[in-house]
């Protein structure tokens, strides 16, 4: 069983990334389940998606401290859902900070040490500036595909499965940019 938590901010595209990942796992022949968030939570709120695959999957929700991978689209959101990551788990982190409204208004303080906290908690952390990388690929909104690219180095899915799943899930005009972003993410973040 492989469990992946994708944590981010509404509008960052983690729902789409979860779909790409799930379709890739499906074409590998696994049983697959995902959970997504729609509606109010998408208006800039905290959004978490989960993807699970294996011989047979029951719950669409992952148990606390049992996930194999955490894809943090944003640092605070990574920290918020860190508790889902298991002891042997890998965090793949977009080194990107997006202040929530309470921080912008000065009612709360952004946790400066978020990246450090994630590093010290996760057995392994891969850091990348996915926004910058995606911008280089042609669109900063494709950052999710960079994170998927980094994740792909830990999985046994062949490249054509990823490509097929990308073509199936991503609007056709955005496919090329996302494939490029994926390739950049796959080539590398910093491993700590």
């Amino acid at each position: 069983m492989t469990d992946v938590v994708l944590a981010g901010v509404g509008g960052q595209g983690n729902v789409l990334s979860a779909r790409v990942l799930a379709e890739a796992a499906l074409s590998m022949g696994y049983d697959v389940k995902t959970s997504e968030v729609h509606g109010m939570a998408q208006r800039g709120g905290s959004v978490v998606c989960m993807v699970r695959w294996g011989e047979k999957v029951y719950s669409p929700l992952i148990e606390v401290a049992k996930a194999d991978f955490l894809l943090a689209f944003e640092l605070l959101e990574g920290l918020r859902f860190l508790r889902y990551l298991g002891g042997e788990g890998t965090a793949i982190v977009n080194d990107y900070r997006l202040d929530p409204l309470p921080v912008l208004r000065g009612d709360a303080v952004y946790p400066e040490g978020a990246l450090g906290d994630i590093r010290s908690y996760a057995a392994r952390t891969v850091e990348l500036d996915a926004r910058e990388m995606a911008a280089a690929a042609g669109n900063p909104r494709a950052a999710g595909s960079c994170l998927l690219g980094a994740l792909s180095t830990f999985l046994e899915f062949p490249m054509d499965m990823w490509e097929e799943s990308m073509r199936k899930s991503v609007p056709s005009k955005a496919v090329e940019v996302n494939l490029k972003a994926f390739a950049l993410g796959r080539k590398g973040g910093t491993d700590t």
């Binding site: 499906l26 995902t34 959970s35 729609h38 800039g44 719950s59």
Partner: protein, 600 residues
């Protein structure tokens, strides 16, 4: 066979299409919205967005009587709106099948309450089915249609957020059944004057016995025998949580949950000293088991509010099951303890916010400037309740803002304690919610000579649920062009003398309109009209703070725009978020905010 990954909502749509559904109606509402959106992409099905859930169900009643298999979908609170036809429909029965899909939202991801819709089946004496994954969503649609026709009753199919919005594997054959039944007049059965209804109610009651027999052999009930000591009764997505948390437990998974298959339940329970019920929200199954005299533990351990997950199910029952059976942890493997993680409560929250450039922002800024007492409906604009706008006083459901404003005005008008507030009452509602449930309230306001002001936040779409069309947009769910309801003419037609349309991006104009209408001695309507910024953006224009001119007064932050932040002593526009609406520039006293064209 095809093998695909579908959300519960998509699987319901596919199931409905394969079951031969020809008519489907809904009002959008999370988590049910995608059912009709998906079904409308299939051929040979009439799909409509109805103005509200009551009309949607009434369309479904007509079409099933007319011989077409029919699907009606709504979120849990939608059935409150549709409850009137819902309660009498079982008396008249159906002709072709009618299935109402109801989507509950435990945890209130996108809802105002977490009512448990299962009681609506019991109240109306209608069979209730509950799928546990997308495969069952798909298959149960056909089963529900067959059941509906065989027993001449509507069927309630209940899903919830984690079924609707989870994608799981569906294997299916793409085959569509053809159902086209003859319509024949039968007034004694279908016209519920008291004399006829008295004949029909006993039929509805007698039907329940037949339905219970059906429930006993329903193929989606499953007895899974593993442990001889731990027995769990559950249904829907909670089955998945229980299966995950307690892999060795025996489970009775119910797919048919009203009427309950009492024999099946008794047989299962008789093998255990005590059984555990895993269900979200109300103790619905638990009460059913207790009525059979079964020793059962459910809500004594499992929370009655919020949604469950496997960890919560494990934590809630592990200790008790260990005590009852001696099995360590009841068979649940708790998460391994390792490094501390910051608790959710220590982290800054990230509530959803109105988007940069959201036209609602200007309107609420204007209301604040006029110190209005605001009753609100439900939509994106409800987010203005959060600081700094903090622009809403009260809100319960769609359409309610109008009647509530009238009530507030009357209470204030006869009060010394609240003297002067009667002229401050404003209600706000969206274009779609005004059509859904606000029009009758407006008629009441005019009829009863009120002085309150109604603001229709007309962003030309149903934004919160993901941009669905409605009767005011000029387009149907099937993509056809149609008459676009003219809100101005409508308000005039019901007797509102003063109806004004303002652009909420123009703060001065908006504030003046609100001030004048709040001061007017009649019911008045202000239509705050600008398309949702996610649909129509200004391109290539954004604002920038001239650093040396910014005095750091933070006046611009009163708008609560996520694109504006303080960096040290000056405000800064996050240019990639800025939508170029100019509202911040309009209120900046030192005029430090300047329009910039992309590339400058």
């Amino acid at each position: 066979m095809k093998r695909v990954l579908l959300s519960g909502n998509e699987a319901i749509a596919l199931g409905a299409w394969c079951a031969g559904v020809r008519v489907a109606a809904a009002y959008p509402g999370t988590p049910s919205t995608e059912i009709l959106e998906e079904l409308s992409t299939y051929p040979d099905v009439y799909c409509e967005w109805s103005p509200n859930e009551k009309v949607a169900l009434e369309v479904g009643i007509g079409s099933c009587l007319g011989g077409a298999r029919s699907l009606v979908a709504m979120k849990h609170v939608g059935l409150n709106v549709a409850a009137d036809p819902w309660m009498t429909l079982p008396y008249i029965g159906v002709n072709a099948g009618l299935v109402l899909v109801i989507a509950d939202d435990p945890g209130m991801h996108s809802s105002q309450n977490e009512q448990d819709s299962r009681y609506y089946a019991r109240m109306a004496k209608v069979p209730l089915l509950e799928p546990a994954d997308s495969q069952e969503c798909f298959e149960m649609m056909s089963a529900a249609m067959d059941l509906s026709e065989r027993y001449d009753t509507p069927v309630l199919l209940r899903v919830e957020t984690r079924i609707s919005h989870s994608r799981t594997v569906v294997e299916y054959k793409e085959e569509r059944r053809s159902v086209d039944l003859t319509y024949e007049k039968d007034a004694v059965k279908r016209v519920m004057i008291p004399g006829h209804a008295r004949l029909r109610h006993p039929v509805v009651i007698a039907r329940l016995e037949d339905l219970e027999r059906e429930a006993e052999s329903f193929p989606f009930n499953a007895v899974e025998m593993r442990s001889s000591r731990v027995g769990i009764v559950t249904s829907g997505v909670c089955y998945q949580y229980a299966r995950e948390a307690f892999p060795e437990a025996s489970i009775l998974k119910l797919g048919f949950i009203y009427p309950l298959p009492r024999k099946t339940i008794r047989e299962f329970a008789s093998r255990f000293r005590r059984v555990y019920v895993v269900e979200e929200l109300e103790p619905y199954l638990e009460e059913g088991l207790k009525a059979l005299g079964i020793d059962v533990v459910g809500k004594a351990r499992i929370p009655r509010d919020g949604e469950l997950d496997p960890t919560l199910v494990g934590e809630s029952l592990a200790e008790l099951i260990e005590m009852d059976t001696g099995i360590k942890g009841g068979g649940w493997t708790p998460p391994l303890p390792h490094a501390a993680v910051p608790a959710e409560s220590e982290l800054p929250g990230r509530p959803p916010v109105m988007c940069p450039g959201c036209p609602h922002r200007g309107l609420f800024y204007a209301l604040n400037r006029n110190k209005a007492v605001v009753s609100s409906d439900i939509g994106c604009y409800t987010l203005s309740v959060l600081p700094p706008l903090a622009g809403i006083d009260c809100q319960v459901c769609m359409g309610a803002s109008v009647g509530m404003a009238l009530g507030l005005e009357r209470a204030f008008g006869s009060s010394e304690a609240n003297a002067g507030k009667a002229g401050k009452v404003v209600c706000v509602l969206g274009d779609s919610t005004f059509i859904h449930g606000g029009i009758t309230g407006l008629i009441d306001m005019v009829y009863n000579n009120t002085i309150s002001t109604i603001v229709i936040l007309d962003n030309r779409t149903t934004a919160m649920t993901g941009f669905q069309d409605h009767p005011g947009t000029g387009k149907t769910l099937m993509g056809e062009e149609t008459f676009a309801l003219d809100l101005v003419e409508l308000c005039r037609a019901v007797g509102v003398e003063s109806v004004r349309v303002v652009d909420p991006w123009d703060l001065e104009e908006t504030e003046a309109a609100i001030r004048e209408e709040m001061g007017s001695p009649r019911t008045s309507v202000v239509i705050s009209r600008r398309a949702c910024v996610l649909r129509e953006r200004r391109s290539g224009v954004f604002y920038r703070v001239e650093e040396e001119e910014c005095t750091g007064c933070k006046r611009c932050l009163r708008l609560g725009c996520p694109a504006l932040v303080m960096r040290g002593e000056t405000a800064v526009v996050q240019e990639d978020l800025c939508a170029g609406c100019s509202m911040c520039a309009q209120i900046c006293r030192p005029e430090a905010l300047r329009e910039v064209k992309a590339g400058d």
